[in-house]
């Protein structure tokens, strides 16, 4: 069930009414209702994978209890590794099996060995990367005594499968979400209203900006062989807008929906378009994954504590995994490594005191100062141009696109692919202005116009709905991150 579908427009009010009016007397019943609704939500994709989700949940629930109950370290370790191996095993099988086989046969081919290994026609269970990481963080936290295991299966299962975050995150931590599920919730009107505002902005980002940019991007990536470098370069930047608005739009809707149920999910994006350095960018982009990788991989590997060489190694490992997490394609891995290289270069520059380091944007600044503006534009363009790898179907396509960009045609006037439509430019400009004005908050609309009278505020919200109705792509286009 997509957030941008009629089914969801029916599903949400029904669950909301059931949750607050029918099953609100006892917490256990309320949670059970929410759990059943979440499983129903998930089963709308493919009911067969509900069993995989249930198995993964049961496994981690049981392993968590066993780790906590074990008196010796060896038993704890066995349960930890059993859970990690099975979880990662499922992920590897469903997501990476064909990729590994293909890469292996390609490698053998390099040495002149021809093989004919069968590939499997595997359907990727939606959300598997997200709920696997949920479960892993829970188990690892118990192992390191950061949390106690959850005794109620319903509470734990709801933590894993709460429908707003089930298929594309944010990747929540047990320390943050479990306590909220365990205590009874009281409806807060201000909180819920802000949830609706966040959902509205999420829908605008997804339906108007991401999906419209998607049309242009698809055109450019399909016809890249006949387009000038300038158009291709714009295509990469437009894809950056698309993926940001698609994914952060999803996150905004998910967080907004959760707020309607009195649950606060973690912030997943903090206006990365305004990052002034590569490090700053990664503190703002897909925060739940970046912080997960930082806490469960980068820091356990030693982080930046053991000298520059090991720090560089750790950055490379983390970004390699981040690339691979996105999907079984070399293009994702190269994208990850490219971002690691940017971060490493920045780290090395920091060592040299002669280089002016990034500044931070002042809070409440209506206009950025010149230095911050240059840094923001540079980071946006450089990070945006790494996304050619992310979006391309093959390495050959990415390389060919880069070659065209670094040719004389880069200086040609961008043409074709619908770029001349000024409506797109106006919509993107409107979006960037609103994001800039709201950048000091958790989401762009949080405090926008809050000092004005209701009719002005409501006119603005109505205008956004109007733009969605007129310029949103209403074809139920899937969110990009569902494929991960």
């Amino acid at each position: 069930m997509l957030f941008n579908s009629t089914n969801f427009a029916l599903f949400l009010p029904i669950v909301f009414i059931g949750y607050w009016f029918l099953f609100n007397k006892h917490l256990k019943i309320q949670n059970s209702f929410l759990l059943l609704s979440s499983y129903f939500f998930y089963s709308c994709w493919d009911w067969r994978f509900v069993f995989l989700l249930l198995f993964s949940t049961l496994l981690d629930y049981y392993a968590g209890l066993k780790i906590a109950a074990s008196t010796n370290q060896m038993n704890k370790k066995i349960w930890l590794w059993a859970s990690v191996c099975i979880n990662v095993g499922f992920l590897a099988f469903f997501k990476y099996f064909n990729f590994f086989i293909e890469s292996f046969t390609d490698l053998l081919l390099l040495f002149g060995i021809h093989t004919n290994i069968w590939m499997l026609n595997i359907i990727l269970p939606i959300g598997i990367s997200f709920y696997t990481f949920h479960g892993l963080s829970y188990i690892i936290d118990i192992y390191y005594n950061r949390i106690n295991p959850e005794k109620s299966f319903v509470t734990y299962a709801l933590f894993v499968s709460f429908f707003p975050l089930l298929v594309a995150g944010p990747i929540e931590r047990a320390t943050h979400l479990l306590p909220q599920i365990k205590q009874s919730r009281i409806f807060n009107s201000i909180y819920a209203t802000d949830g609706l505002r966040q959902m509205l902005w999420g829908f605008f980002k997804k339906l108007v900006i991401a999906d419209n940019c998607g049309l242009l991007v698809d055109n450019i990536f399909k016809n890249y062989e006949s387009l000038p470098g300038s158009t291709i370069f714009l295509g990469g930047l437009l894809f950056y807008f698309q993926i940001y608005c698609d994914f952060s739009g999803y996150s905004d809707i998910a967080i907004g929906v959760a707020r309607l149920f009195g649950i606060q999910l973690m912030q997943n994006f903090r206006f990365p378009l305004f990052a002034t350095s590569f490090e700053d960018n990664w503190r703002r982009w897909h925060i739940s994954l970046s912080s997960w990788l930082r806490d469960y991989i980068y820091i356990p590997l030693g982080g930046g504590r053991n000298g520059l060489f090991l720090k560089i190694r750790n950055i490379l490992i983390v970004f390699f995994i981040s690339g691979l997490w996105h999907g079984p394609k070399w293009t994702f891995i190269i994208w990850g490594i490219l971002n690691a290289v940017l971060l490493i270069i920045e780290t090395l520059m920091k060592q040299s005191k002669s280089i002016v380091m990034p500044t931070h944007i002042k809070r409440k600044a209506l206009i950025p100062d010149f230095r911050a503006l240059i840094q923001m534009v540079t980071v946006f363009m450089v990070v945006g141009s790494t996304y050619f790898f992310f979006r391309s179907d093959s390495l050959a396509q990415s390389i060919s696109m880069y070659k065209t960009i670094f040719s004389k045609t880069f200086f040609a006037i961008p043409r074709g692919a619908g770029l001349s439509n000024w409506i797109y430019i106006t919509l993107i400009t409107f979006f960037v202005i609103i994001e800039w004005v709201g950048k000091d908050n958790k989401h762009a609309l949080e405090t926008l116009f809050d000092s004005y009278a209701k009719p002005i505020r409501w006119s603005f919200y109505s205008f956004i709905i109007f733009l969605i109705a007129l310029y949103g792509i209403g074809d139920g286009i899937k969110f990009i991150y569902f494929q991960f």
């Binding site: 009107s189 409501w458 006119s459 109505s462 007129l470 209403g474």
Partner: protein, 309 residues
């Protein structure tokens, strides 16, 4: 909670007139009104057909289907063979739209035979938004059927188009204001296009997958035919061999349609040449139409005559 619900109710009351007001203002600005979600398709040919069909009664043959129908069956050729015919094809007409057109016109026109031109492109289409906007823009359906189709197709584009027409009825262009020099409406519903020739290109591969909404609509069409004891058969009109071979499961499509009635496939016809008889990858030019129609009559005239008796 009461406050929250009250606020939402108040917002809805505020929102509706605001939205309608803005919609009207927006429609006045030419550059703005052509948003991606308004598809007002006032075509002279379609508009003339919708006017003519209101007066059609008791004919021999009603042709129905997509552009392959209204650009493929030349009523003049059929009339010269003594048949009284009308072509009710519309652009990209999918079974959902065919169902509504039949509900509107079948009992009124009372044809002795319906020839339904169908192809894998329309049966694979999710809900036929394109065709639905054409029916709405050119007033093919009555108010209730329009609304029923609106909810069945359930698409933002269609709602906006309907609202756009509803709010701007007086300002919309009249038929005589729309000029298309490339094509001409022929009385009886056929559209003749200026002679042009197909330039070869590689079209995308298509797998016919019967959309479940279209399948449901075809079942309903069959029920409509059965209820009114209507004689009918299906035709798979000719498309370029280049395009035909990119549809990877034509046999599946044919067998699916044969579950609903007899189907005659006019593809792989040796007399039609991609370069000489088509103006694009699916539409015949006038030379092609003449060959196809005469071939059609040669092959199916005895069957048609027996059904018309």
């Amino acid at each position: 909670m009461n406050n929250f619900i009250k606020n939402i109710a108040q917002f809805i009351v505020f929102f509706i007139p605001f939205f309608l007001g803005l919609f009207i203002v927006w429609s006045l600005v030419p550059e703005l009104r052509f948003s991606s979600n308004i598809r007002f398709v006032k075509e002279q040919t379609s508009s003339l057909r919708s006017q003519e069909v209101q007066h059609v009664k008791n004919i021999d043959i009603l042709f129905i289907g997509s552009s392959l129908c209204y650009r493929g069956f030349d009523v003049r050729i059929f009339n010269s063979f003594g048949y009284n015919t009308f072509n009710l094809g519309t652009s990209s007409q999918t079974p959902i739209q065919t169902k509504y057109l039949l509900k509107q016109y079948l009992n009124k026109i009372k044809p002795k035979l319906v020839i339904y031109a169908i192809d894998p492109f329309v049966t694979s289409s999710k809900n036929g938004v394109e065709s639905a906007t054409e029916l709405i823009s050119n007033h093919y359906l009555s108010g209730k059927l329009n609304i029923d189709m609106l909810f069945e197709v359930n698409d933002l584009k269609l709602y906006n188009t309907y609202l756009y027409i509803f709010l701007n009825e007086t300002r919309l262009p009249k038929n005589n204001e729309i000029i298309d020099n490339d094509q001409q409406y022929i009385k009886g519903g056929f559209v003749e296009r200026k002679i042009a020739y197909y330039k070869h290109f590689t079209p995308p591969i298509l797998f016919h997958i019967f959309d479940k909404n279209q399948l449901k609509a075809l079942n309903e069409i069959k029920e409509i035919f059965e209820e009114s004891k209507q004689k009918f058969f299906f035709v798979y009109p000719p498309i370029t061999s280049n395009r035909y071979k990119t549809i990877k499961n034509n046999e599946k499509f044919i067998s699916n349609i044969e579950n609903f009635g007899a189907l005659y496939n006019f593809n792989n016809n040796q007399m039609l040449d991609d370069s000489l008889h088509y103006y694009d990858d699916v539409h015949l030019n006038q030379y092609g139409v003449e060959i196809y129609n005469r071939e059609f009559l040669k092959m199916l005239k005895p069957k048609m005559d027996s059904l018309l008796r």
